[in-house]
Amino acid sequence: MIPNAVKQGVDLSQAASWRDVMQRIASEVASRHAELADRTATFPAQTFEALRRNGMLGLMVPKDLGGQELGLRKIADLCAILAGACGASGMIYAMHQIKLSSLVAHGMDTDYHRALMRDVATKQLLIASSTTEAGIGGDMRVSNCAIEVTGDRVSLTKQASVLSYATEADIIMATARRSPTSAGSDQVLIALRRHDYQLERTAEWNTLGMRGTCSEGFLLTATAGADQIFPKPFHEIAVQSMLATAHVLWASVWFGIASNALSRAHASVRATARRMPPDFAGPLPGAARLAEATAKLQAFKATLVAHIERFETAKRDDDDLNSNNFTVEMNNLKVMASNMAVDVVREALMVTGIAGYRNDGPFSIGRHLRDVLSAPLMVANDRILANTAGLVVASRFDSGLE
């Protein structure tokens, strides 16, 4: 299948067009199906069908492998646009991009992973992630399950207690111990195609928000080629690309949700203004709080953009990329962004009042609030701060403004 956008000759030189394509998908498809995905906790299938049809799943893939080689900032922008229309769709799209970024950053030297990237771009394959496992207390950097090797084949059985949109994905990238005798932290990452694995559902996903991500529990059993394991140890993949990309793209999703909530608050204040007599001397109800919330969204945007640039700079210097300082900064981005997003949506609710509290109507931000409340919890901020606490003692804050 050749994506429409590619058929139409859209390429990197017209990169703004990808933004236009995403805006169109967001307004014409994602926003129309968001309510259904939320209410029924089902995968936003129509939205992903539109994303596939327009070639939006392989944009990060290098050009020589059939992609568009889009950088992180453009991908972040696309995540925010989609999340503004449907938080769950935005998060699924972001999670896919996070996995894809690991392929792009660490899979260029292996034939299997290069072929996989080509398939992602040309066949518009969706990638899911299996890091969370029962019995490890939510720490992604430890695995119980282990790779077992038989000749050039490997097998894996994993109690994946949270595996978002697993049944809709074409590829699952899973962490596991290197071997049954390896320590829990000696992990590898393996890319599995649909024909490599079976899924047996073990837990449902009935949550307050982000319902369309379908983050159910599964027993994952797989047999695959040994060459499907990334050559780099998982801890290097995590530190050098995955964590920073995840925090940037999650933050972008939350930014999209927050800015859409604020735009609804903005519209509600405008509606109030229309009803006032022209000699109305103010203050306009909600406008002062709207101003305060706008300041918070502005600070959120500045923080997010600064950290995307920080990551791009670090990518050019391995020492920087592997430094405690960089990890601290990227951990802090996740904590700051998740708190700011909740804050902005809550302010937006105060502006809209009961009209925002409703689950229907043009000013409704009920879903935004429920979705964004996942932000401080998905990898709990307390856990991240505990990890950062150890690192921050062994690093020094860069207070330079140049």
Binding site: A273, R274, P278, D279, A281
Partner: protein, 81 residues
């Protein structure tokens, strides 16, 4: 276009003088339009013409005179087509 814009301004009682007495160059703020009045005018114009003012046109200057406003609306209405 010009008549419709003038009619909106006239119907909103934004200034304490008859609209017919104002030229396209008279400054509406100097004539008595408040800052909030200009916000309402912007909202009414957007609604009437089904347009959205971009940030670049959301300036005091755009709304200061009928002439400036008419020019902005014409520009946006042309872009829409």
């Amino acid at each position: 276009m010009r008549d419709r814009v003038r009619a909106i301004v006239g119907s909103m009682n934004l200034v304490p003088v008859p609209i017919d007495g104002l030229s396209d160059q008279d400054n509406l703020f100097d004539t008595g339009m408040t800052s909030f009045g200009s916000v309402q005018l912007m909202l009414a114009i957007e609604e009437e013409f089904d347009i959205e003012f971009p940030n670049s046109l959301l300036t005091r200057k755009t709304f200061a005179t009928l002439g400036g406003l008419i020019a902005a609306v014409e520009q946006l209405a042309t872009q829409k087509v």
